[in-house]
Amino acid sequence: MKPAPFEYHRPTTVEEAVDLLGRHGYDAKLLAGGQSLIPTMNFRLAQPAVLIDLNRVEELDFLREEEGGIRMGAMTRQRAAERSGLVGRGAPLLAETLPWVAHPQIRNRGTIGGSIAHADPAAEIPAVMLALDARFTLRSSGGTRAVPAEEFFTGLFGTSLEPEEILTEIEIPRPAPGSGWAFAEVSRRHGDYALAGVAAAVVLDGSGRCSGARITLLSVGEGPALATEAAGVLVGTEPSEDVVRAAAEAVGRGIDPPADIHATAEYRRHLAEVLTRRVLPRALERARASAGA
């Protein structure tokens, strides 16, 4: 299990990286934390001809608070985000979810941007970004564009990144007053790919009515999925147990989960429903606390 040979570049600026990517395009692979890519290379499933290592691009490793929310560089280590008080305050859903991502040794190396760009359907971070309505900055030698998470994820390991583009920054909007959040997943063992997982971000107005909800799912489809029908069930109601149950049923209806050796499609669907029933009350509870405060 040794990787095949590759041409190796280690740029120190985004400009340099973008330039290299422009030159090598389809033949190149960006190396961020490498915690998914390198095992795939060790199995020789991935054999990129060119590897562009972003680990020395310091400008991609930052985390700061801005007017509208949190902005972080794509090379922010997952562990750094997990430990950051800023993330704890400004994106508590992300903070709550990160400990579910693999193991500390992996998170020490793994990056937020790497996980987003990898877009594994079973990964927690893409689903959370979708729930948080994050925006991503993509840069190529041709320029820069911002893409909302909803448009970014496009099916199985699919993203709207062009071959010459790099994901450079992630922007997470500041939670509105009355926001609540929760995450849960079921995995065979702690740190494994989830059999199913649910992230929820909800907003309650002063009267306890749900004014916004984003429920996202992982491991039940080709990519991270936004459960729009389920969110629709919540919005406009004062969410009761029955509403939550109806939302969970909507989650089950809206997915076509894959089967593998660990879980049948039916089991995954069932878990997505159960998890929604468990996650929403927690998110709503927090929203009530926040709206009351």
Binding site: L156, F157, E222
Partner: protein, 153 residues
């Protein structure tokens, strides 16, 4: 692994049938700049280029044989492929039925064996990749059908 489903083509059955025998059209329904050539009666050979996510796109050799042909209603497609990280063997049974409004309903059921490295490591994704490739292929065929019908019109 079983991949099965239904798909409706907005066009008459005999046109769909023809499309499904045309190597050029078939190669458009296959992933990654496929090449497919007719090498005998109902026998095709060629290659496709497949890569999913972090798995580097690579060339897979492909051999397709159509059997039990009952035009324009039924055939069985035997597909064998071999690539650097594994192989597939399998057959798909395809039934075409005319439906209201001049459409064609395709029912397919494929029994696929996946072998080699990709089977041992990629099991989590095989089901999804098969589904995705099927859906994309059928959509491509559907587009081709539309184009052909437009041409004829």
């Amino acid at each position: 692994m079983i991949v099965e489903g239904e798909y409706t083509f907005s066009g008459p059955r005999d046109v769909v049938w023809e499309l499904l025998q045309d190597p050029e059209v078939l190669s458009k329904a296959m992933p990654g700049a496929a090449r497919l050539a007719l090498v005998g009666d109902g026998a095709y050979e060629g290659s496709i280029r497949v890569g999913v996510g972090p798995v580097t796109a690579a060339e897979w050799k492909l051999a397709v044989t159509l059997q039990d042909r009952d035009p324009p209603a039924h055939y069985v497609m035997q597909v064998d492929s071999k690539g650097p990280i594994g192989f597939t063997r399998g057959s798909a049974s395809v039934d075409l039925a005319e439906t209201d409004g001049g459409c064609t309903l395709m029912r397919y059921r494929a029994d696929l064996q996946v072998g080699g490295k990709v089977a041992g490591i990629g099991q989590r994704l095989i089901d999804q990749v098969a589904k995705m490739m099927t859906h994309r292929g059928l959509d491509a065929l559907s587009n081709e059908l539309r184009a052909r019908l437009a041409e004829e019109a």
